[in-house]
């Protein structure tokens, strides 16, 4: 952050170097995520590898009963051998969904960044971009969380769990919801900014 030398004292200015850095970071994150969510499951399927999936169940430690412990649930990674084609496809579809959301969000951020760099921060199109980003975070990401939960549940149903009962654990994805609300708020600020820009346009 910040300009070099004495040109500016604004250390929080989002400079060209920051834009390049963020673009590179988005490329890396998208690349690794696409591999992890889409390519790796396909390769694993082709090799006939088992699928690993988180399994949530109540954990007990009888040795600690004397100390008076409070038992809770724990997450284990369990191996599902020979999943059906339907289970594979469901898991892959969830991965594709996550990847699509990430790519869509990254493209919106990249276009926003370019527009701001060109001096058109308060362009009407940016209001739309920010609102799409807010919609992704507020709507699509929580939906993807639920679909992901169902996909994992579908895998666990056929697994050998040694008599352990699966425990449903629903955690509301607060972070993307709060982030989505903040982005929606910023979009509203951009509405005001765009209106101000229209007023100033043609001012002599």
């Amino acid at each position: 952050m910040g300009e070099r030398g004495n040109r500016s004292t604004d250390r929080w200015a989002f400079t060209r170097a920051d834009r390049i850095g963020l673009t590179a970071l988005l490329f890396v994150v998208n690349g690794f995520s696409l591999f992890g969510w889409v390519v790796a499951p396909i390769l694993s399927w082709l090799r006939g590898d088992p699928v690993w999936t988180p399994f949530i169940s109540r954990v007990t430690v009888p040795e600690l009963d004397g100390a008076g412990v409070t038992y809770s649930v724990a997450t284990y990674d369990i191996r599902v051998v020979g999943p059906t084609t339907g289970q594979r496809l469901f898991g892959l579809a969830v991965g594709v969904l996550w990847a699509a959301l990430l790519v869509a969000g990254s493209l919106i951020v990249a276009r926003l960044m370019r527009s701001i760099a060109e001096g058109n921060a308060f362009d009407r199109a940016n209001v739309g971009r920010l609102r799409w980003l807010a919609a992704l975070l507020l709507g699509a990401v929580p939906v993807a969380f639920v679909v992901d939960l169902f996909a994992r549940g579908a895998l666990v149903t056929d697994a050998e769990l040694g008599g352990l009962p699966p425990t449903a654990s629903i955690s509301i994805p607060w972070l993307p919801i709060v982030a989505g609300l903040v982005v929606a708020l910023i979009a509203q600020a951009f509405v005001a900014g765009a209106a101000l820009r229209d007023d100033v346009d043609g001012l002599v």
Binding site: D199, D201, G202, L203, V204
Partner: protein, 74 residues
């Protein structure tokens, strides 16, 4: 008339400059506004004008606001 409808304000800068034998560039230099902005004003493409710009133009051209800007009859 709602404010978002087209206006009927006409700028007479062209004729004022002609009458004084002054160029747009010279006026821009004297007023401290870019030639591009004054050109926008002269060609009636401006949507608004700052009071400070208006004052400076009237001072340099020795005219009134009414001589510089007129509202065309509807």
């Amino acid at each position: 008339m709602p404010v978002d409808e087209p206006h009927r304000v006409v700028c007479r800068l062209d004729s004022l400059l002609d009458a004084r034998g002054m160029t747009l560039a010279a006026l821009a230099d004297a007023v401290g506004v870019t030639v591009v902005n004054l050109s926008v004003l002269k060609n009636n493409r401006a949507k608004a004008i700052r009071f400070s710009t208006l004052t400076a133009i009237c001072d340099v051209l020795g005219c009134t606001v009414g001589e510089l800007l007129e509202v065309d009859p509807a």
